[in-house]
């Protein structure tokens, strides 16, 4: 919660603020002793909570708190023309905003490559798993529902990928489709639930030196060289994204896929509870 001041040199040499240099050294020191700053296990999520339905103007909404990271997802549905190559199904679009109020690291302006990557990775998991039954979004010839999934990051403390996927899923699972009257959306009647066929969960890992951690907070993210997000449904891997410069071995990826499935149950439980 401090407004940091940085200078040209620290940015160029370390790509981060002076205090982050100190924190990075400290995170690494702790890892050598097998601990994390908040005393979590390496493959443990922070305390996570989900609240749905907070934005009544939206067709669906969910706020996720993962540690101090806070993300709000809003779902809007609009009647539109279908895409030319998929005339009998609806559309989905995911976008993400790293709001400047969420962190002194964020600036006002058009979406950064980080924001765009975030949106596209969340999109990939949900789309590849066929989470939303896009065929159920067909209204009549030339008219389908477009589902807009907007992720608003309200407070940044690491691991936006998992917080955003969770928020998107929770919002979708509690979203209601407006009635259609004479080809136009009537939002006075939103009683029909959006048809969700599969639940997608994601786990994001970071590599710091020789250690791989799950759910990195901001200090840990600053200290990390590599990152990998794995989005799954009950049986299959649906999306993966490796980020940052560092690399992962085949054995590491195999192990992390196992962890993704191990952690799925607790995420699914949170989602199911929030949808009630």
């Amino acid at each position: 919660m401090r407004s940091r001041r940085y200078t040209a040199t620290t940015r160029v040499v370390f790509d981060m603020d002076a205090i982050d240099v100190v924190k990075t050294n400290y995170v690494k020191e702790l890892l050598l002793k097998n601990t994390r700053e908040d005393l979590r296990q390496f493959m443990q999520f922070r305390k996570t909570s989900i609240v749905t339905g907070t934005m009544q103007n939206a067709e669906g909404s969910a706020q996720v708190d993962m540690g101090s990271t806070r993300v709000l997802c809003g779902i809007k549905m609009t009647v539109e023309e279908p895409m030319r190559d998929t005339p009998s199904q609806g559309n989905m679009m995911v976008s993400a905003e790293l709001l400047p109020l969420a962190s002194p690291d964020y600036e006002t302006g058009p979406p950064s490559p980080d924001a765009i990557e975030l949106a596209r990775v969340v999109d990939r998991g949900i789309r590849a798993a066929n989470s939303i039954d896009l065929k159920s979004l067909f209204i009549e010839e030339g008219k389908v529902w477009s589902v807009f999934i907007d992720l608003y990051v309200l407070n940044y403390d690491g691991n936006l990928f998992d917080a955003c996927t969770l928020a998107a899923m929770a919002a979708l699972m509690s979203a209601k489709v407006p009635a259609v009257v004479e080809g136009v959306a009537n939002r006075e009647d939103r009683s029909k639930p959006l048809k969700i066929d599969t639940v997608v969960t994601s786990t994001t890992f970071g590599k710091i030196g020789n250690s791989i951690l799950l759910d990195l907070d901001r200090s840990e993210e600053k200290a990390s060289e590599g990152r990998i997000t794995i989005a799954i449904d009950d049986a299959n891997i649906r999306a993966m994204q490796k980020g940052l410069r560092g690399g992962f071995t085949k054995e590491e990826v195999e192990k992390l896929m196992d962890v993704a499935f191990e952690r799925r149950a607790e995420l699914k439980r949170l989602l199911e509870q929030s949808a009630k």
């Binding site: 969420a102 477009s146 309200l154």
Partner: protein, 244 residues
């Protein structure tokens, strides 16, 4: 807006949501809600849900904008794409939002003691998560609390409200429908200590007596808003809460 489908704004002497003309919508104000920000405030005003946050004083970027003897203020007002009851909106501020950002900035350039923070910048962010008319007023009311929460020195704690005309009635605090179909709308912001007007915008049609009446109605409503702002700040330090 086209007046063919103009709904009835007055039914049996009451407004669409059952209010009297001099009645504001119910509202709540909560301070200190965004952990990373220096100061923050969340306001629910009618169906509006608005988040304001403050960062700074901090180094000015880009450097050429720096003023050696005072702080500069930057303000961003934007509406979330999921904020409206109608279709999905576009991402990022549009021209309306940019103008609103400017007039809001000018409110705070008046009250913030800029010379206390030379060569620095203070950033104010107002995000409308859900909008239902009067968002710039609720945003200013929230931003003032966020600045106080950040400990920024100000000569006063501004509030804002809008007043307008529906037929021959002067009414306070328009909701979205009233905003769209009324005959005149006038948002205002005040420094409550001496009721100085720090923001004034108006369009439509009002005669001079109506303008005077509208200003007075806004000033009369101010006491309630100011009290809620003060209470929100005091709540942060009550024995019941330990902050974010």
């Amino acid at each position: 807006m086209a007046s063919e489908n103009k709904p009835e704004l007055v039914i049996d002497g009451k407004r669409t949501d059952g209010r009297n003309f001099n009645q504001m919508r119910p509202f709540t104000i909560k301070a200190n809600v965004i952990k990373n920000a220096e100061g923050s405030c969340y306001v629910e005003w009618g169906n509006n849900k608005i988040l304001a946050a403050v960062y700074g004083p901090k180094e000015v970027m880009p450097r050429h904008m720096m003023e050696p003897d005072r702080a500069i203020i930057k303000c961003r007002y934007a509406m979330a794409p999921f904020s409206s009851l109608s279709d999905h909106g576009r991402t990022g501020p549009n021209r309306r939002a940019i103008e609103i950002s400017k007039v809001i900035r000018e409110v705070f350039e008046n009250v913030v003691m800029l010379r206390e923070y030379p060569a620095s910048e203070i950033d104010i962010f107002i995000e409308v998560l859900q909008g239902d008319g009067g968002t710039r007023a609720a945003g200013i009311t929230a931003a003032a609390v966020a600045l106080a929460n950040a400990g920024i020195q100000m000569r006063d704690l501004p509030y804002a409200i809008s007043v307008g005309r529906i037929g021959e009635h002067i009414a306070i605090d328009f909701n979205m429908i009233e905003d769209n179909f009324s005959d005149s709308d006038m948002p205002m912001a005040f420094a409550p200590r001496n009721n100085e007007i720090l923001l004034l915008q108006m369009d439509g049609g009002l005669d001079r007596a109506q303008v005077s009446k509208a200003i007075q109605m806004a000033i009369d409503a101010g006491a309630e808003i100011s009290k809620a702002q003060r209470d929100a700040l005091k709540e942060v330090y009550s024995n019941n809460t330990s902050g974010v």
